[in-house]
Amino acid sequence: MTTAGTNRIAGKGRLTPANTVRFTFDGKSYTGLEGDTLAAALIANDVHLVGRSFKYHRPRGILSAGPEEPSALVGVRRDAARQTPNIRATVQEIHDGLDAVSQNRWPSLAFDIGAVNDIGSPLFSAGFYYKTFMWPKVAWKHVYEPVIRNAAGLGTAPEEPDPDHYAGRYAHCDVLVIGGGAAGLSAALAAAESGAQVILCDEKPSFGGALWFEEEARLDGMDGYEWAQQTTDRLAVMDNVRVLSRTTAFGYYAQNFVGLVERVTDHLAAPEADMPRERLWQVRAKRVIIAAGAIERHMVFANNDRPGIMLAAAARTYLNHHGVAVGRKVGVYTANDSAYAAAIDLKKAGSDIPAIVDIRDNPDSVVVEEAKALGIRVLTGHAVTGAGGKLRVASMSVEPKNGGSAEVIPVDALLMSAGWTPSVHMFSQSRGKVAWDEESQRFLPGTYAQDCVSVGACNGTDGLAETVAEALDAGERAAKEARAKAKKSGVKIKTEGGGKWAGGMIGAGPGAGAGKVVKAFVDYQNDVTAKDIRLAVQEGMHSIEHVKRFTTNGMATDQGKLSNLHGLAIAAEALDRPIPKVGLTTFRPPYTPTTFGAIVNHARGKLFDPMRCTPMHASEEAAGAVFEDVGQWKRAWYYPRPGEDMHAAVNRECRTVREVAGMFDATTLGKIEVIGPDAAKFLDLLYTNPFMKLGVGKLRYGIMCREDGFIYDDGVVGRIAEDRFHVTTTTGGAPRVMNHMEDYLQTEFPDLKVWLTSTSEQWAVIAVQGPKSREIIAPFVEGIDLSSEAFPHMSMAEGKVCGVPARVFRMSFTGEAGFEINVPADYGRMVWDTLHEHGKPMGMCLYGTETMHVLRAEKGYIIVGQDTDGTVTPHDAGLSWAVGKKKTDFVGIRGLMRPDIVAKGRRQLVGLKVKDGRTVLEEGAQIVADPKQAVPMTMIGWVSSSYWSENCGRPIAMALVEDGFERMGDTLYVPMPDRVIEVEVTNTVFFDEEGGRLHG
């Protein structure tokens, strides 16, 4: 006995006895060895009971030694925020201080109240959710569902945000090799030596695959595992190879795009702070070689889930790699040869093997003879029909498989092997079609859909020599296909020994008790028994997809790695149809559970989404701005002064702009430079307005429609030169308007010589609006005569502002005389600060988007997307003046001629005057003509914009109302939950109807 557990066998395994590791399980402290998985270390300490099952709360142990583990799921905690449920104990490596807990038990693992489910289990058979809790209906929501949710489910999610850091990486390669056993290593070596860029990944901490347990395998005269390590080292130092251990290929997507997740720190006691917990690799490979191996199946018999019952090869891994004997009195139940090797290894290591129970009548193999020669009792033609013991297997009941008297043989561990299932998950995810191989009773890769190939056990290839030969050939071939200059690899590998993967059985054995009340588990994780599957068939589920959903077989996080074939065979038998006729369910990503952290990797916190700020942001922040989100932009919303709420601040800003002046950051507006000899012609086609005759130095408000005639965007267009325009778009519309224009330019008007360039971010835009705007900016403007005569409303000129080049637009979205100053963005803050400093003593204020909205509404200026909803034409919006009457073509011209567009009954944009003079209508509120009509009322429109107007001294609103233009002066009603509001229909201009202020 060593210090690292009572079951540690001196001289066995590859771990270093001196490298001990302290860890806890359910609060109890244990010692393991560096390189142990939690499962290995627990077994070394004679702990087989590690959890309770999902549905029946049955005691569960460790079934496997790898990622296929359905049973041994534990919680792992580093601290309060780092608590991960459902970690496979067979994957988690131990480190000093590892704190693991069992799941799904209360009050303790050995005594679990929930285990009454096991006694009451007839209630919980397949489909019980659908049948048992149907009445009374109301009880489902308040009684059954909460109770079931409490009792079922595995583990507890952490309640604090994940403090870990996750990384992502895109990578390209000629050849991606999935799996690093003898096949994967050989293929990678051949591909690498042929000159290909290779990525090799394996989910285990070290490479070798089956060589972890296949002790008799020798490659190049070396112990197989040792060869794997040397080969890995050889590959790792090659410039053209990237070797990734602890890395699972979890998803195979289109065009050889494969998702890998690398576990970087979970095995470390004290990871460096900067190390990511996991890294997501998104690999695009020219060729993929799948060397995923095979997964051993369990035998289906009564109580086959007792702790201490496990897969034969898992026991070999624990013995040959970790130096741990899984028991001292170990029974073996098998349907193929490979379990014999486990018995032989354990016998040689000192464990007693009371019997090997072989369901085959005449197994003919050297291993059978070898076992007998070691004095092991071999019972052929026999079956294990049940297991005794509860928290740990205590015995096996053995019967001749065709009936006869049972013998109860005491054991403290029971190994089983029904054979090996080729791991076709990745192949199937690549959309390849599996084919049933009648002779070997396996599904194997059939028709390929992508540039990949399967080698070794996952391809049904038996024997080490055959596997290596196939892999070397595949590696070299993949290299040559991916790279014209690839050469012969010249790699030769000598092999001796090695196991075989063929043979075995699928389905339930005699111990599954057909028709009897026994629990012979097919799917351990979802507690599905052979009886459940038979019941599903009996209840009319004839498709394997229905059987799967009715029983939940294969639907747990292990994706049915052990259970799928057994379930299928039992269903096929019950249906009396051949297996390929019943079919296999689809494999879907992820192959093993993958964290959300890895999937989102860098896209958290500040990097969740870009936050766009204008060049003046810091100055606005310093001025006390409250910001609002407009798409990804942060825009100054209003600038409250001490003691002001939003309402007071906006009222003050609105008054100040009209009485003195205000300054506004309009940088986020989209801007497009349209250049070329046909630029005017192009804009004439894109906008409803005429552009051919717009003079140089003039501005025009333009409306852009879609083909259907509905408003798409609007903005002001300035002509800088004959062949050069400065187009502005709405903030939100910037990218799509650019795309819309480019689309038409390339597909509808390719003959036009025009180029489009986005300048949205080239210019910082500072709007100075109000009676004193000219006075405020004048001292800083060079080269532009700002007088109303020389520079009237809707003019533009290039000059200098604050000494930097500027495009100054005389325009207004407020109804006041105003200017929009465009300066190169890096100068934006300087110009803003300068104008602010100068304007402030003159009474100018800063104003935000809310004031901008109110001021424009006072003037009836629309906002596309607020006062339009994608079904509003320029005519509906009262903008017929902006549609060129003489134009013969523009995008939307035919749409505007459609009969339903010119018919009566269209919703038209009008103003609403609230009769009480106080109530601000709710935006989106519906409008009716007669409030006394029966509910549901006929709604004739809705409120699109509504504000308190400080300048008008009353609320103002705009609305889209059926035939609104003909209802001027009419009284309409806005029914609200508590009352009906009376409104009068008006035009949309509420302030300065004559528009004289614009020209001031």
Partner: protein, 180 residues
């Protein structure tokens, strides 16, 4: 006119994030243009700019401080830290569109043995020297933004992005440089 101090405020001015494997830093100010032109104008524009505009997709050409990056069959991105290429284009009579985008974009320099790995944290392009040699360029994506990527050395890249995305770009590269 009133007296004002002219100061160009680069969005990432002076920012550096460094380590042994990679350094991420803000590039100095530059003149930039987006140049669009049809085939017949290319020779005249090349002459005016003093650099032969590349015609092969994904390649660039340099002359002194001036660099011209192919971005599309009729589109080049030209930048120069000392002289304004827009002024040179204006000398050419050939039909073209040269738009000043000096302030629209800003650039981040990524250098060091892990430079390509750091960019590949969010950029799906293959960045091996074989596939993306020195001088190669591409309009591509990094994380959730669009960038123009330009390889200036075996271990040196220039990442151009729009001004308001530069905070995101810098933060992304700094995050990707953690725990390589």
């Amino acid at each position: 006119m009133a007296d004002v101090q002219i100061a160009r405020a680069l969005p990432l001015a002076g920012m550096v994030h460094g380590g042994a494997e990679v350094t991420v830093s803000a590039a100095p100010a530059a003149y930039r243009i987006s140049l669009r032109a049809g085939g017949p104008a290319v020779a005249a524009l090349s002459k005016a700019l003093g650099v032969t505009l590349p015609k092969k997709p994904g390649t660039s050409a340099s002359a002194g401080s001036r660099h011209a990056l192919w971005l599309g069959p009729d589109e080049w991105f030209v930048f120069d830290e000392t002289a304004d290429p827009a002024a040179d284009c204006a000398k050419s009579k050939a039909a073209h569109s040269a738009v000043d985008i000096s302030h629209r974009n800003t650039a981040i320099l990524v250098s060091g043995p892990a430079a390509a790995d750091v960019i590949n944290a969010g950029c799906p392009r293959e960045l091996s020297l074989e596939a993306f040699p020195v001088g190669a360029c591409s309009r591509t994506v990094m994380g959730k933004i669009e960038i123009v990527l330009y390889r200036t050395g075996a271990e040196d890249f220039r990442v151009e992005c729009w001004r308001s995305f530069s905070d995101y770009a810098f933060a992304f590269l700094a995050d990707a440089a953690r725990g390589l």
